[in-house]
Amino acid sequence: MEQPLTKNIITGKTLSLKEYEQAGGYAALRKVLKNNAPQEVQQMVKDSGLKGRGGAGFSTGIKWSFVPMDEDARHPKYLICNADEMEPGTFKDRLLLEGNPHQLLEGMILAAYAIKADISYVFLRWAYRKAAEIMEKSISDAYAAGYLGKNILGTGWNLEMYLHTGVGRYICGEETALLNALEGKRATPRAKPPFPQVSGLYGKPTIVNNVETLCCLPHIINNGAAWFKSLSASEDSGTKLYGVSGKVKRPGVWELPLGTTMREIIEEYAGGMANGYRLKGVLPGGASTDFLTEQHLDIKMDYASVAAAGSRLGTGTMIIMDDATCPIGFVHNLQHFFAQESCGWCTPCREGLPWVEKILLGLEKGKGSTEDIELLQMHTQYLGPGNTYCALAPGAMEPLQSALKYFKDDFVEHIEKHKCPYEV
């Protein structure tokens, strides 16, 4: 089984520039700069079927193709790496950032070349202090080695790169809010259209890609689209970093073929449930995805299969809810997070989420009523996609709506018993 993204990563260690080069690093960049026009790189990536690994799963090649490439396109263009990994339960990008930073840098430089970008930023989660140190050093090493700066590898092409650390706002994972934050403005999302490809950072054409997405690029260039497709166990291409957290024997993150089943990941790689616990529900791709349950364990963890089961692959990092955990308390905890992370721009999210949070807390404390269930259901409906300004509130509603579906009995029990039945 090939694990191109993680094969050189040794836990606890960081691959230096030299070690990365010895392992074949920056070969893709050299190859492309010598042989290929930017549009050809775009085509290669389009052909590879690479989809964004940040959660939305949109084709990377198609995303790039909306960037104006003609002579009179507005410059500077920007390439931004979204390393704001703030999705609860998600820690896959951290592994890539800390373990093999130059793989990311090479991916960024390739992506920047593909869209003829002039400036690139790494937008890094504030809490990733170690990654920040590593990235800072790696960027300066890459400058020193001629991979960044003026006249890269003697081709006459210039690219500047900067590290920007956020202040820890979930909303900065939303690419347009990230752009506002990067400009020093309030981290509120922007209206779309216009999309960032046309009017992004400082109003100029911009691409924002996730860490894992960018890390795939050197391998696609080196080995070709067909190879990349062959890595997968599903219609989607490539490998995926899957993670598992919760009461399993071995929580962690593994690079596996895209489309590995949930059961295989949980039982073989995470070692199954910890002793004394049974699996009650799974959030397959972070906190903003719908619960799946035991009956779904055999579905393939690819974009289409998870969607067919009523959830989203999201970041591919599962949060396991065990049978000793109160689903209401669990969802309350999530809603507390989402309510707090709402940027405060649009009404439904700003006012709806705190209400949901308060209802769930009431239920958990045994003060709920059946009307509360109706109110929760109303919110799952009205905080849906299109009704709010961005995807934060619709994402927040995903675990809630599925909890109401799969764990309805728990809600009823809380109301009838006037207390949380999970309380010891």
Binding site: R74, R186, P194, C343, T347, R350, W355
Partner: protein, 900 residues
């Protein structure tokens, strides 16, 4: 194009968004964050409608109507169940934390949040938890802050920062703790802060001066009015109760002020209620000075019959009053009550605009300019709303370029702002000293007036080589001229702005020459000259000699009675000259509203009406004649419009007591005959006998509470409603209930729309002209005497003299204003009088920052002033605060001596 709304077909204008289209069609759709002047941002989610793919699509898709452009054949539904339920839900969310304190909220009864809540049908509250609360801030004496009422529509910060360019109000924190205020308590710094009270859809930001004498909107008697506090002539609504003026509201005029007013205009009304008002006619020679009207008439008859009578007009009195005075004293004895220096400049401006060489530009047109050149006028402080219009021009130019670049509509505000970023349209400010407007200027240059004029002429010469005969422009000057000239040449709608406050005719001539030089076949340059008072233009158009000429004449001929109309000549003329004048007069009759230095000289003092207790017409600096209407019914006091007093005096003089011309209409008709330059002035507003189906237009909304017991100590019987007979407006709540003609709209109200947002219902389209056309009449249109006018008067460079300093005025956006300074709140925000000079000048004087200096002009000593060092004032110039309550007339624009 055609669109279908709830299965009915309508014609709408392309390029609009769905919300604008619906509101223009008079369909009710609730909204908060969208504002016609500020565009769409999609934050509040209140204006949701269903949009359908085609007639077979039964499901539809919920969209925010403010964020979608109309497309041919589009099908949408306002009435759709889901859309309605969602809109109701949005209100329920907004109300979860709202304090529901309408009974004690200043906004109550005129609150957009109330209206929208009722419109969506939300009436039952399901939120059972504690509300979040905020601490309020002290924002200064003009605006009250009550954050708990906030519904987070973001309009305040979008207005204050993006629209008006302020930076001390912001949004803080996140999620449901979002806070709108200042970093810490303190006075709001923007001179446009008052608009927050109208921009805010609920009671977070309210008018603090109204709070001092609060009345519900529905209990206000209101009348269309025109601002008195600068030459721009913004349209206002004056609002009264129990004989007291309670507040001023914006009156939309699509050609002038649009949705906004400056703080001097909004809050400068309290002089009307001032204790300093003259309410009683006085005959000073008597033991008992107070006189009845008949005593006055008897006394005055001898004064105006026996000797020669001269009339001193006023740039702040109405056309009617000035004309009535001219009629009384005869054209040859009527003088403008301003200095010769100022009158000379005003005559020049009239000549320029009358020539038809350039277009006299409205505020609205300034907003649409794609390049602006300002020469010599600090418009931020002398005509604040013009500065706000220039800001829009600069921002909108960048916005429209951005919108064309990637084809997004201009109203999509946030997207446009992201795209345009810091890009700005061209603005050059060439002024005496720095001004806040410089912040958005492409080029700023500060120099003495003659040097500003030289640059102006150099620009004109660059634009049309050979037209200016001058060869001694320096390289540096030519370089500046080229930069500015090139930018102006690129523009399609350039505007050149100047003003009289430099007291330098070369500055105005240079600005005019630039405008003329810019004229080409397809480009007609727009030109604007700021003047000092609200009717400076009207007075100047009457074409009479200045006060200085009157003074000379009286000194020479002696034995005259002077009738002074609403004019504190001590504010216009150095006091020594004014004293000289009064000493030469045998008798002085003064008509004014407030006691001042001039009224002290009156032997006969007549109480004149202000804009609030009288009718009249003012001409703004653009040449737009605008009518204002009485709002305070006058049943007991002797206060009456000056023109009415003067007409009465005229009948005395002519010994015909059956004077018939006692309506402004009649006066204006006589004026049109006597002074053809005012042709058309009778059409400025509907006549006094205008009715609709026999009904007058009520000044009171139909929700008026009616009579209360508050005046029962004076009279318990039901008095007959006051009727001044001067206008189509009645002083009652009875009358025509529909939309009145645009010039006589006393208030904005529509069923279900009790707040200022109801202005939508009075417009032909959102943000467009008022139905029936914007009010006001441009007097400089369609001139038949169009002729070529071009000046060639390039002055010598300004030379610093060793012991003489050029004296120039420095105005203040809030503090300047003879009348507005009576508003206590504005007075506290006004600077103390001071002079400012460059460090170089101070060194030459052997003085330092903070020293007291005395200005001496031709032996006349002005009072001492503290001096501030200001690097932006050029050497050889002394700036002195002007227009403040303490300020007196000075010989501006002349070289004076300065003593330590």
């Amino acid at each position: 194009m055609f669109i279908h709304i709830d299965n009915k077909t309508y014609t709408v204008k392309a390029g609009k968004n769905l919300l604008e289209a619906c509101l223009t069609l008079d369909l009710d759709l609730p909204y908060f964050c969208w504002h016609p002047a500020m565009g769409s941002v999609g934050a509040c989610r209140q204006c949701a409608v269903k949009v359908y793919k085609d007639e077979n699509d039964m499901k539809g898709r919920l969209v925010m109507s403010c964020m979608e452009t109309v497309t041919e054949g589009l099908r949408l539904s306002i009435e759709d169940k889901t859309a309605k339920a969602f809109r109701e839900q949005v209100i329920e969310w907004l109300m979860t934390n709202h304090p529901h304190d309408c009974p004690v909220c200043d906004e109550g009864g005129a609150c957009h949040l109330q209206d929208m809540t009722v419109m969506t049908g939300h009436d039952y509250r399901r939120y059972n938890y504690k509300k979040r609360t905020y601490t309020n801030q002290y924002l200064g004496p003009l605006i009250n802050h009550e954050m708990n009422r906030c519904i987070q529509c973001y309009r305040c910060v979008r207005y204050y920062r993006d629209y008006a360019g302020g930076d001390d109000l912001n949004v803080f924190a996140a999620h449901n703790h979002v806070y709108f205020g200042r970093e810490k308590d303190g006075v709001l710094q923007s001179p446009f802060s008052g608009n927050l009270s109208e921009v805010c859809p609920t009671g977070v930001f309210t008018d603090k001066t109204l709070k001092e004498h609060y009345t519900r909107k529905w209990d206000l008697t209101m009348a269309p009015s025109v601002c008195n506090h600068c030459s721009v002539g913004c349209n206002t609504i004056a609002a009264e109760r129990y004989g007291q003026l309670r507040c001023m509201l914006n009156r939309y005029n699509g050609d002038v002020n649009g949705y906004f007013l400056c703080d001097r205009g909004r809050f400068g009304y309290e002089f009307v209620n001032s204790e300093n008002r003259i309410k009683q006619a006085l005959i000073r020679s008597r033991t008992n000075e107070a006189a009845t009207e008949s005593e006055i008439m008897e006394h005055v008859q001898s004064l105006i019959s026996m000797s020669k009578v001269v009339g001193i007009g006023s740039p702040r009195a109405s056309l009617e009053s000035n004309f009535a005075l001219m009629q009384l004293v005869g054209k040859e004895n009527f003088y403008q009550g301003i200095s010769e220096d100022e009158a000379h400049l005003n005559r020049l401006v009239v000549e320029m605009l009358r020539s038809g060489c350039v277009h006299s530009v409205s505020l609205k047109e300034i907003e649409q300019a794609d390049a602006v050149l300002i020469i010599g006028e600090d418009i931020w402080n002398t005509a604040p709303m013009m500065a706000l219009a220039v800001r829009q021009a600069v921002v909108k130019t960048a916005a429209s370029q951005a919108s064309q670049e990637i084809k997004i509509p201009v109203w999509l505000d946030s997207a446009i702002k992201e795209l345009a970023q810091e890009e700005k349209g061209f603005l050059a400010t060439l002024t005496i000293a720095t001004s806040p407007i410089d912040d958005i200027a492409t080029h700023s240059w500060h120099a003495a007036p003659d040097d500003l004029a030289r640059l102006g002429f150099a620009i004109a010469s660059y634009l049309q080589p050979g037209k200016i005969v001058n060869t001694d422009f320096s390289e540096a000057l030519l370089d500046k001229a080229k930069k500015i000239g090139d930018a102006l040449k690129k523009a399609k709608n350039p505007v050149v702005i100047t003003g009289t406050s430099c007291y330098n005719d070369n500055v105005i001539k240079a600005a005019f020459d630039v405008a003329v030089a810019l004229n080409t076949g397809e480009r007609k340059t727009s030109f604007s000259c700021v003047m000092t008072e609200c009717n400076s233009m009207g007075l100047a158009m009457m074409g009479s000699p200045s006060f200085s000429v009157a003074n000379e004449n009286i000194k020479t001929n002696g034995h005259a009675t002077a009738v002074i109309l609403e004019n504190d000549v001590y504010k216009h003329i150095p006091s020594a000259n004014a004293d000289e004048f009064f000493n030469s007069c045998d008798h002085v009759i003064v008509l004014d509203a407030l006691h001042n230095a001039t009224t002290e000289k009156a032997q006969v003092l007549l109480p004149a009406a202000t804009f609030a207790d009288g009718d009249g017409t003012l001409v703004n600096n653009e040449g737009r004649a605008q009518r204002f209407f009485q709002v305070i019914p006058n049943t007991t006091s002797q206060v009456q419009e000056s023109w009415r007093w003067l007409k009465k005096l005229q009948t005395l003089k002519l010994h015909t007591l059956n004077g018939h011309a006692l309506h402004p209409d009649d006066l204006l008709r006589e004026m049109e005959t006597a002074l053809p330059q005012f042709e058309g002035i009778t059409n400025v507003s509907p006549k006094h006998d205008f009715t609709i189906h026999g009904e007058k237009i009520p000044r009171e909304p139909h929700r008026y509470s009616g009579r209360t017991a508050i005046l029962a100590n004076k009279n318990v019987s039901e008095p007959k409603p006051f009727n001044d007979g001067d206008s189509p407006l009645s002083f009652t709540m009875e009358g025509y209930k529909g939309t009145p003609p645009s010039g006589v709209v006393p208030f904005f109200w529509s069923p279900g729309w009790n707040s200022v947002q109801s202005v939508n219902k009075y417009q032909e389209e959102t943000n467009g002209a008022l139905r029936g056309g914007n009010p006001g009449l441009q007097l400089f249109k369609n001139k038949s005497d169009a002729r070529d006018l071009f000046f060639n008067d390039v002055p010598e460079s300004f030379v610093v003299a060793k012991d003489r300093w050029l004296l120039l005025p420095k105005y203040d956006a809030l503090g300047s204003g003879e009348l507005s300074s009576y508003t206590a709140a504005l007075k506290t925000l006004s600077p103390q009088p001071f002079a400012s000079m460059s460090t170089g000048s101070l060194q030459a004087l052997n003085a330092k920052d903070g020293d007291m200096l005395q200005i001496v002009d031709a032996g006349i000593m002005y009072g001492s002033l503290p001096v501030k060092a200001d690097e932006n004032v050029c050497d050889g110039v002394v700036l002195v605060t002007a227009g403040l309550r303490e300020s007196m007339g000075m010989s501006w624009g002349t070289r004076v001596q300065i003593k330590k």
